[in-house]
Amino acid sequence: MPSYRLQTIRPMAFSVALHPAFLLVVLSLKTSRSEVLGEPFQLTPEILTVSTESKLQQVNLQWTVPNLTHQELKMAFQIEISRINTSNIVWVENYSTTVKWNQLLHWNWKSEIPLECVTHFIRIRAMVDDAKYLPQNSWSNWSSWKEVSVQVSVAPNTLLIFPDNKLLEEGSNVTICLLYGQYLYNVSCMLQKEPIHGEQLDSHVSLIKLNNVVFHSVSGTNIHCKAMNATKMIFGTVLFVSKVLEEPKNFSCETQDFKTLKCSWEPGVDTALVWSQQDSQSYTLYESFSGRRELCDHRNSHNWQITDDSQETYNFTLTTENNLRKRSVNLIFNLTHRVHQKAPHDVTLENIDARKANMTWKVLSRGNNYILLCQIELQHEREVIHEHNVSVHMSASYLFSDLEPDTKYKARVRCADANHFWKWSDWAQKEFCTPEAAPSQALDVWRQVRSENGSYVVTLFWKPLLKSQANGKIVSYNIVVENQDRLSESEHYSVPAPALGTQLSLDPCSYKIHITANNSVGVSPESVMVLSNDSGHEEVHEKRIKGTKDGFHISWEPTSGDALGYVVDWCVHSRDQHCDLQWKNLGPNTTSTNITSGAFKPGVRYNFRIFEKSMQQKAQLLEKQTGYTQELAPLENPEVTINNFTSNSFILSWPSYDSDFQSAFIEGYHVYLKSKEMQCHPKGKRMTLPDYWVLCEYEIKDPEQKAFTVENLRPESHYEFLVTPYTSAGQGPNETFTKVMTPDENSNMLLKIILPMTLCVLLIIIACYWKSQWVKEKCYPDIPNPYKSSILSLIKSKKNAHLIMNVKDCIPDVLEVINKVEGPKTQCIVSGNPHNEDVSMKPPSSVPTEDGSSGSVPFFFFENFTYDQSAFDSGSHGLIPGPLKDTPCQLGLLTPPEKLLNVLEKDYMKSLAESPTEETSLIYVSQLASPMGGDKDSLATNPPMPGHCSEYKMQMAVPGRLPSLALSENNSLTSEILLGQGEQ
């Protein structure tokens, strides 16, 4: 909205002032004539100049009213402004003023469009509007149109943007005008990063209207345009959008010394812009009574010097101003009502004793009649514990009493004018600490007594004194133990702080224990406890109590009327070894109390003991009470064992729980038995489950019963059971059932037979093992004694005492070695053949087999001098006898006993039986331990072909007295000795 400003300029031209008096007279006469006649007259204004102020987009009009005959005449003017052409009227304004003769009249108008962009035209007409004269009914003629334009030349390919560097306030509107040079088209513009669009006014002018512009930056808001044709030059302008100037807030002034007034206010947002477009807003103080105006040196305060002591009232106007706006606030006050007293000074504090301190201070006074109100505060740990107001003239003091010893305090004082309170002064403060005093309170003590190895173990506990009771830092605790039975004996102990207990080991006597606390100043009153002989051995009934979420209500029956008081104690951690004993002292007339603690937990059993303290400070256990704040269902089931397991019954038994670990009082047990097609006991509840399963539930209401007999079971049947305790809160967890299977009915009987038999067999085996050597000797010695053999009895029965051949008497005729001989010892064996190779190379010319054929079996033949030559001579043997030679070595053979027995028992016996002469020679046979193993028949019929270094099991009848020869078991030499006609 364009605004205007009218300036009436008094005639200044000297020539006008010196107008001839003659003309005045003529004019007066002329006017008088018109008045008399009452004729309407028209005065057409004449435009003198039309100028512009481009920066302000302002048109200034200057005109005069020629032919004005009056000295003063009230007139109305109408001004029209058209744009682009005269017919396009954009503004019409009426303007009334008193026109003096020959006066230059001024009027201005601000265009919303920059004047560089379009041509404006202006004209004016007038009308007499003075009551003193006959009113003019019509306007005068219009003046001629005057063209208003700002000439700018736009070079080809360039763009001019108006206004340039425009300063405006946030929230206002602005019209941007673009002037295109020749050859420039297709121009796009942006406001910072946002595109903006305008309207084309004519072929080379377009307008962009921006409403409600916002503040972007102190360096302005850039509008830049770019043409898309030949040139890529960038054009732009900067809008300097200022924040709106704010009115100063909380404007006030005060004095401390009556020499300076300190005025302060909240300045609001800084409206400064860079590029010298706008400085920060200025602040000016104007005092109307004195007429002084001062530019403020700070944007939020100013010190105003009081120059006139007699001035009491001040009327200040604070004005803030920037390039766009001005704002003011006013303040009027009496100086004496705006006195901000200086803080008190020379504050001192003097400790009188541990509980009293005296504070003194001074104030700045303005005369004898000037009274100040002072406020005193005493603080402890940032908390005001004492406050007091006093009236002060010049100086004052104040006594703080009821202070705590050994305590830090902060005392502070502030003052204000007592007559016209304006504002408290700043605080003046001082910190001080009171000295220590002896502890004022006896310790709250308690004890726990237990017997150990015939003596008392007394654990003393005490609670720390409160700070208000300790009156200083507790250094140690003194304990004096007096033996009541032997009064002369007393023990002194000192426990350094901060310990809160100690343990004493005492003989089983009566004791009086005195406990005190010490600080650097003195000793506390003593606490006394008496321990009697039976302390710790009291047996009382335990009562169950029910707690609540908050704790327990404990009540008891007093036993005597002269109790000094009662003590209730309990452990915070009943499940742990660390008890954390708590106790509560109660008065003599108390018979109940509430025990509350944040440490109480649901499902934890708490045991309370109530003691009565006698006048002699002896504590007697009155009651034990136990309970839960909240009972919970058992957390676990007992471990059940099965006893007396038979085919139709068994007994379930389980151990008892530790009471401290019970989550509630156990009220009983539920026993569940599950099986297929089962009959429940009448006392049990039967429930049918899927798949023909039946569940029997038995309830044991006695929590002390820890066994249950399950009867009437079927043999060889599957059963499952579960034992779970139950409390008031429910039963234990539903765990997996334990499976059992009843045994067969006969299983017991079998067990009775099999077990002893097994034991007997075991005993025999053990005995045999124990006497194995003896049995071996008796039954199957390594070298059987033919004289001890049972054969002997047979022989004897046949009356032939010579049947048993003496080895001495035997002369072997042939020794047959069946293998390649290894080692030097073979040299001893092979008679007349020192080299094995020689022996092995000697082919067996003819080895008769059972079928009489001679195979290529690598048999070696030795002369056996122990063999009876007659046996060969009998011709019953197919072996070719070799030459008999003396052998330097005797043959020693190791014989496995079982083979020997075989020979004895079978072969030999057979040969005996088949022997027609009854004097059959002994035949010693070596059996080849071949893979064909053990098949004697096959061995006999098809003698195996010994492999290289094959082992042989040897059999040989050796006389008992024949010494063991050099051959050993591990010797690879093996032999087969064929004596006489044998089967093999």
Partner: protein, 243 residues
């Protein structure tokens, strides 16, 4: 924005080192040519970083739009191009840089006066001293190479730096001009740093030989026509220029 803090820290560190170097330079010339060359290269590289001045200026003057950023680079204030610098003999190079830095110093000072009470004011202050430090080192370098710098003729060196002050320029145009000047300043210092690096690489690396005197003359006479270019890829022949 997240990376700004460490970047700023690094920049601060670098600037501190720069100050130390400058302080040393102002006390007296180093007798070690390689050390001085290394120092000069570091100084040029550091001051070639646009984060030192250009970016803060762009942000302060609300020029952070693609169009305006591009405008800053389209017609930067004329400085000798990298090709031109590389083509110069060492004494001429030092003299050219010294002279250009003098103009830059003057321009920075003018820019500083345009931006009182802004965030870039201390940066401009610091930059002015940085440039002074580099000039001192160049002076010393020329002294070490037995080619003392001639005092430049102001009429010769006055090409295309400061905008005309005969008419009150549009603030918008001044912003763009300043932005272009700062862009040109950083680019020029980067080019100087790269030339110094070639010096450090030794005489084996031949410098591009072009009609250097004519180029220098062209720059002195009509520097505004010489477009700075960071490209050094043009297949011009390189020859070693003897001292």
């Amino acid at each position: 924005m997240r990376a700004q803090f460490p970047q700023r820290t690094l920049l601060s560190l670098a600037l501190s080192l720069l100050f130390l170097s400058m302080a040393r330079a102002t006390r007296g010339c180093s007798s070690s040519s390689p050390q001085l060359l290394s120092q000069l290269q570091s100084q040029a590289n550091i001051t070639g970083d646009t984060r030192l001045l250009l970016e803060p200026y762009i942000l302060l003057q609300e020029l952070n739009t693609p169009t305006l950023r591009a405008a800053c680079r389209e017609y930067p204030v004329t400085f000798p191009s990298e090709d031109t610098l590389r083509a110069l003999s060492k004494p001429h190079f030092l003299s050219t840089v010294y002279t250009t830095l003098g103009r830059i110093q003057h321009q920075l000072d003018a820019l500083r006066q345009q931006s009182p009470k802004t965030k870039v004011f201390p940066l401009l202050e610091r930059a002015k001293w940085n440039v002074q430090g580099i000039r001192n080192n160049i002076y010393c370098m020329a002294h070490l190479l037995n080619h003392p710098l001639e005092t430049p003729n102001p009429t010769e060196a006055g090409s295309g730096a400061s905008p005309s002050t005969t008419t009150t320029p549009s603030i918008f145009q001044t912003k763009i001009d300043n932005c272009r000047f700062l862009w040109g300043y950083h680019s020029f210092m980067g080019s100087v740093g790269r030339v110094f690096r070639e010096w450090k690489d030794g005489p084996s690396r031949s410098r591009r030989h072009s009609p250097r005197h004519s180029l220098l003359r062209a720059w002195r006479k009509g520097a505004s026509r010489i477009r700075p270019s960071r490209s050094s890829q043009s297949p011009m022949s390189r020859v070693q220029v003897p001292w």
